[in-house]
């Protein structure tokens, strides 16, 4: 029995191997945010606090799809730099940022950010910091599909304002 459950555990670990302390990815196909978060929590079970944010495609306004494009030489390196800044600035045990590119449908996860730390404040702040910067400073361009076709999403003043908090 003990052997059997150990084997199961290893399978789960092999399924989603999380890099520590930073795991930063661009994903070209869908992912199960809940399962990744569960794995993150297993990896950081010694941390006192885990905070996460999952952003998904909003249904409504006649939007049937969202496409995110990126620029390979800049986008992922920029995300890694940002995460490294967070790691240097706050007392963190680990940070995970998984971000989709490509075409998504309403309800699909776009981004998962999870932070582990000894105490809650750092983890809360890092997730907030990462999201404000991913929204306003990371190299992603988005367009929405409605009945009239595809429409590019313009930058919002609110996003720049959010980033200036840091």
């Amino acid at each position: 029995m003990g052997k059997k459950s150990r084997y199961y555990r290893r399978l789960v670990v092999a399924d989603v191997a999380i890099d520590v302390p930073l795991d930063i990815r661009l994903l070209h196909s869908g992912f199960a945010a809940g399962e990744v978060l569960a794995q993150f929590q297993r990896v950081y079970r010694q941390s006192g606090a885990v905070v996460s944010f999952t952003g998904s495609v909003r249904p409504g306004d006649g939007v049937s799809g969202l496409e995110l494009t990126h620029y390979e030489p800049l986008t992922l390196p920029g995300m890694v730099d940002l995460a490294s800044d967070a790691l240097a600035r706050w007392a963190l045990d680990g940070l995970l940022v998984w971000h989709r590119v490509g075409v998504m449908e309403p309800g699909d996860p776009i981004v998962l950010v999870a932070a582990a730390s000894a105490h809650r404040r750092s983890a809360f702040q890092v997730v907030d910091f990462m999201m404000d910067h991913l929204k306003s400073a990371a190299w992603f361009w988005k367009r929405e599909r409605t009945a009239e076709g595809w429409r590019w999403i313009e930058p919002r003043a609110q996003d720049l304002h959010d980033r200036e908090r840091w």
């Binding site: 620029y71 800049l74 306003s136 190299w139 361009w141 313009e154």
Partner: protein
Amino acid sequence: MLFLGPLSDLFDTAEMSLPAPLSWGQLLEAVPRTVAEQLQGERIHVACQGHVLPDKTALVALDGQEIALLPPVSGG
């Protein structure tokens, strides 16, 4: 040379090849006037070989190098 995000709608194709070496002035002359006007806006950034230029007008692209024209990122 790559046109990213909304700039990719300016042409039928999202990329074009230009003779090297290429300066910013030569780049602007190689595209239609309406496109050149857009590219000169301060919110358009330019990357060469995967590095964003602090001053796009200082662009000097050599043979085989990739230029990316980067419009402001989407929020939301």
